[in-house]
């Protein structure tokens, strides 16, 4: 059977977290009653003029710096002309020939492999309003309702080169981009509210072929799962179509989450003839170096730099460093935990954050920002494991207790109150071990005849007798002395 290669490029609409809209002073807050955040500019009354929001430009600069792209000294706004009721001007103000950011790249990880995805460009534009077709009153029979609250919300459209070769890579890219825009504080990342929407351009070609196949564009994917499912379906459909002797026609398709299928939108005649031209209402956007440098100075340490620092200074593996830098909040939490537990316990901290805490957050459907245990509490707990005060299994109980929000402020308090300290006192343990050996001559004989299993069983007996409070390592040492 023929081998196929999948080629994917992604365009993402990132809603910028400014207070006001990109060209007007209306609020961008989500969830207001219809048209209460739509002023004369947003609804395009005659005679109004757009004035560009400095905050939106600053978001674009932050992004350009974060991906190592070029922030254009001069960029131009253009009109993208099309007719739809939720676009009241009859054109969308966007950027075309001279976008605000050119180039740059983003590194992704799929399994063990790291890959760099090249970015083509990022440009500023305004969002359209929303059309509602259902839930309208009886007076609205045969009508669509238009809510222009979203019209004019600032977007950064980020476009990649066709560098991805699988749905897994596409999802890894989308996740990395999602993490980055939140990390640098330009987008709230709320996918349910449409703050981060992906379009995937998908084509297939015979393995080894250098020309690109004809692509179809899957529009408006607002979850990573849908992105994965839509691409998987689209790829299977394209390959099946070609193998059946058909050919792919360029089209825009929608993904239907209910059926898991993509389907072509009714082809709109001339839909892609947008007749872009520079918007005469807006002068060129000029960004001087001084502004760029000022924004650079205010950027947080970027994920890649932070990962490298954690590898160098904390001795984390590349994998661990990547996981704890999934978001800025998580990275800050991890570092605060290390600050409380001590740098020498960094690896243990990473494990607790990535495994025990992550499982707990996942189960309770919480973000790290709403963690039921503070980084200081977790760090304090890990310090007590490290200095041998409590065993790891005991620590899990203390962890659960801290998470359950009782009145205990720290691990130390719980350990002291419940007497959970490990028994490391040799005299007490020796006495206990003597009793056990006397009571279990069978096991002793088995061990002496060379069965290591019997030894572990004896350790288990001691642990059981101390309700888990004995230090297992110390028990092992003492037992060997006795039996040896």
């Amino acid at each position: 059977m023929k081998q196929w290669e999948v080629v994917i490029g992604i365009e993402t609409h990132v809603q910028l977290s400014t207070r006001a809209k990109i060209f007007s002073g209306s609020s961008t807050a989500f969830g207001a009653a219809p048209n209460l955040q739509a002023n004369a500019v947003d609804i395009a009354l005659p005679g109004v003029l757009p004035v560009l929001n400095k905050g939106a430009v600053e978001c674009a600069i932050r992004f350009g710096l974060a991906i190592g792209g070029e922030v254009a000294a001069k960029s131009v706004f253009a009109r993208k002309n099309y007719f739809y009721p939720d676009l009241p001007k009859g054109y969308q103000i966007s950027q075309y020939e001279l976008p605000v950011v050119c180039g740059g790249s983003l590194s992704i990880q799929v399994g063990e492999t790291e890959k760099t995805i090249a970015l083509t460009r990022a440009h500023l534009e305004e969002d359209a309003g929303k059309s509602l077709h259902e839930g309208l009153g009886p007076a609205a029979q045969g009508r669509s309702g238009i809510d222009l609250n979203r019209a004019g919300t600032p977007l950064l459209e980020i476009v990649t080169e066709p560098d991805m070769r699988s749905a897994a890579e596409a999802v890894a890219y989308a996740r990395a981009l999602h993490a980055l825009v939140r990390w640098i504080g330009i987008c709230d990342g709320n996918m349910q509210e449409g703050s981060f929407r992906c379009d995937a351009n998908v084509s297939v070609r015979a393995a080894g072929e250098s020309r690109l196949g004809t692509r179809r564009e899957i529009k408006n994917l607002n979850s990573f799962r849908f992105l994965q499912q839509a691409i998987d379906y689209e790829v299977r459909w394209q390959i099946a179509t070609i193998e059946d002797g058909g050919s792919i026609e360029q089209a825009t398709v929608l993904f239907d989450p209910a059926s898991g299928e993509t389907r072509a939108m009714r082809s709109k005649e001339d839909a892609h003839d947008y007749r872009y031209f520079p918007d005469p209402d807006l002068l060129p956007l000029v960004i001087d170096r001084q502004w760029v440098e000022q924004v650079r100075a205010e950027l947080p340490e970027l994920p890649a730099a932070r990962r490298q620092r954690l590898i160098n200074e904390h001795g984390l593996s590349a994998y661990d460093a990547r996981i704890v830098t999934t978001s800025l909040d998580l990275a800050n939490y991890y570092e605060a935990t290390v600050a409380a537990a001590g740098r020498e316990n960094a690896k243990t901290c990473a494990n607790w954050v990535m495994v025990d805490l992550a499982a707990r957050l996942n189960r309770e459907d919480r973000e790290i920002g709403q963690s039921p245990i503070s980084a200081t509490q977790l760090g304090g707990l890990i310090a007590r494991i490290a200095d041998g005060t409590i065993s790891t299994s005991m620590a899990r109980k203390v962890f659960d207790e801290l998470c359950s929000g009782g009145d205990a402020a720290s691990a130390d308090e719980i350990i002291a109150r419940q007497g959970l300290q490990q028994i490391t006192d040799s005299d007490a343990l020796t006495a206990l071990i003597d009793e056990l050996l006397a009571a279990n001559p069978g096991m002793v004989a088995e061990f002496r005849s060379g069965k290591e299993k019997a030894f572990n069983a004896l350790v288990g007996q001691v642990m059981k007798a101390t309700r888990g409070q004995a230090n297992p390592q110390r028990v092992g040492e003492l037992l060997r002395q006795k039996l040896g």
Partner: protein, 127 residues
Amino acid sequence: MAPVRGCGGKNFYDTLYGSLVYHLSDFVTMSLTLEQVHRIAHLARIEVDEVEARRTLGQLNGIFGLIETMQAVDTQGVEPMAHAQDLAQRLRPDCVTEDDQVAWRAAFQAIAPEAEAGLYLVPRVIE
């Protein structure tokens, strides 16, 4: 969507002439056909009858004539302009400046052809 006179954006003629002039290089012959005029009118959602289309064709080709004359000027090494004024965009601070949106919405919707429950109503559009 059928072309309807008076429906659509605030700047049809901007769109029509702006995009035409901007995309001059697309029209290699520097002269339009009647069919192209109809197509552009359709894209701009402007209804033109045959008489108007012929008149518009004449006017547009007149504009092409002017541009052809201008193209005699040597522009080698001259940076293309995105705007007639050699100025930079002034920026607005990121502040919400609108208040009393309930009153504004009522005023805007008083002149809308149809509105209900805060929504503007338009002929049903659905894919």
